[in-house]
Amino acid sequence: MGDVKMFILVTIVLTFLYWTLFYQINKQRFDVLAYIVSMIIFGVADYFWGAYIPVLFLVFFFGYCRIKEGKGYLRLSYFYSIYIVYIGFMLSNLISLIFYELFSGAFIDKYMTVLQIISTVAPVFIHYLVARALKINFTLLRRSDPFIKEKILKPLNYLLTFFVLVFFSSYYYELTLDTSAPITEYTKYIMFVYAFMFGTVLFFISNRTRAYLQLEIQRAERLQIKQLNQYTTEIEHMYQTLRSFRHDYQNMLISLQDSIDSEDLDLVKQTYQEVLVKAKVKINHHAANVNELANVQDHALKSVLYWKLTEARDSGVKTDIEIREDIPSQLALSTLDLVRVLSILLDNAIEAAKKTANPELRYVILCDQANVVIIVQNNSTEEHISLNKIFKSGYSTKDGHHGLGLTNVVEITDRNPAVNWETSFNNHQFTQKLVIGER
């Protein structure tokens, strides 16, 4: 009876270990159902094929991730499953080896249960502490960036597969030896190798994710400089147009003067109309409202707004910008996140608007008390848009592309509780609204 209780306890603790590790790197909502199911599977499996349970864990978590993450996350799923199995199993093994090193056989026999549980739970804390000390941000790995996929996950998966093979072969080799008394020298050697492998993997992740962040910053900076150059050119161009307009205007006023002097009222009327009409055409034509961007303090934000404005204009989308107040550069959302979110929303809006006969895009930034409100609006050919569908990963409507990248926006707003997000569709107008709170 005691054995059964013991067995159940170990299964619960073991399952807990893997799920906690899973949570530490995945940061997703805790799935009670999957937890219970896995516990039953592992319990049964443990009972029949005790020693091969790590392989089963691997298969289970891989399957689970495949279902949860959906298409396009093969590498990530593989990484999650192999990583937790490897880290969990290897660390508990390492800890039991340390126990064998430290304590006598009699002591270990006496406190077997406690030691077993400690060796199962301790990896969670060790992993947590080491990951923290190295400042590893596992959620970065979820991003669908080629650098992450090719330069981080791919080599990491190879590395992990290699380590797991090494580890399993030595582990199963040990099992076949069937020696209850460990050989001290050999164990010491193995311990060193395990610790080394653990360190390598974590160091690799920490190093590479940092390199990725550096790269992100560089990319953003390069883009920003490019945008700012274009912006400056455009402002200069506007200034030139304004000058030539002023010149025209002066000429027209002179001719107006002439017609007044001639005291011919019809001529006066005609000239006046000409001046007025021409002026209006010019002003409205150039109300491409680049000047509104002057109210944006943040250069990165300014450049992305300008870039999207140009893109919209080039593809024939009539664009209205409303930025009437000074927009502070210090927001609760980091510039990088803000730029990502806005590029996605604006891209979607431009794509969807392009499908209509008279494409229209409007973006508005305003301050409301301590909040900054960003509104992106476009017209759409759709009669009805099922909002819950377009937010499903990978979905995009046939005609517009509102679903594109929205999962990234969800990810960013999830990380930033100070951001409130609303989407609405009314009378062929699709509106995205972000309310960004105080920092």
Binding site: V373, I375, S386, L387, N420
Partner: protein, 246 residues
């Protein structure tokens, strides 16, 4: 109907006042109170209270102060959140979305457009207010407020609430909106008797249920979304649907 006009240019004020009175008379709109002034305080003093039958025509630029009209609109909103605000302005000053967001302005009448279009736009706004029934108070709103956020949606438009991947975050789907906010789903369900939890992570507006498939334990909402129903909620749903059928 009560009509208020704020315009600092005497000629323009007289012209728009005459236009409005003529348009009202021609369309059998009864004017109870008509206030045309160049002083914000005079205008604000004339407001008796909140009323959907009140319309304000405001010049945006007053006495050389750009966007002074916006401040006046805010002051009006503090006294009357049901009335209709219309800005009368020149094109270059217009910022439709900003003003709609800040003071729920209904419309913008461009001073530079042709006289005919100008009159037509004034009339459209008058007719809009005339057709506003005093139903605003009768609509049942779903209202939620926390430190950073207020959510206010007509309850009838609500389809369902679901929890997001992010802990404590709720996503609300209405017939035409998706809104994220931080809240507790159970607390929301407790506050609204017409919401029902059908799974741990999802609560639906019971008035929006169009069908229930008993054998597959699936529920369909008016927009076609299908939800699996948790086993222990089945009894409750069947009782409710039976009750509604009667």
């Amino acid at each position: 109907m009560n009509i208020f006009v704020l315009e600092d240019d005497l000629l323009q004020r007289e012209a728009i006042a005459a236009d409005l009175q003529r348009l009202a008379a021609a369309n059998h709109i009864k004017i109870d109170q008509f206030t045309a002034t160049s002083h914000r305080d005079e205008l604000l003093a004339a407001i008796a209270g909140r009323d959907p039958q009140q319309i304000y025509f405001l010049d945006l630029e007053i006495k050389g102060v750009r966007q002074a009209g916006l401040e006046v609109a805010k002051a009006i909103r503090a006294k009357d959140n049901l009335g209709t605000i219309v800005f009368v302005t020149t094109h270059s000053e217009m910022a439709p979305v900003t003003f709609k967001y800040k003071v729920a302005a209904l419309d913008f009448v461009d001073k530079d457009q042709s006289e005919e279009d100008f009159q037509q736009q004034l009339l459209t706004n008058l007719l809009y207010v005339r057709d506003q029934r005093q139903t605003v108070a009768e609509i049942h709103y779903f209202y939620f407020e926390n430190k950073t956020r207020t959510v206010r949606v007509p309850f009838d438009e609500i389809l369902y609430f679901e929890t997001s991947e992010q802990a404590h975050k709720i996503v609300l789907f209405t017939t035409n909106q998706r809104i994220e906010f931080y809240a507790n789903l159970n607390a929301i369900v407790r506050s609204e008797p017409e919401l029902m939890l059908i799974q741990r992570s999802c609560a639906v507006n019971v008035n929006r249920i169009v069908s229930y498939d008993k054998s597959n334990m699936k529920l369909t909402l008016s927009d076609g979304t299908e939800f699996p129903v948790a086993r222990r909620k089945i009894g409750k749903i069947e009782r409710l649907l039976k009750h509604n059928a009667k």
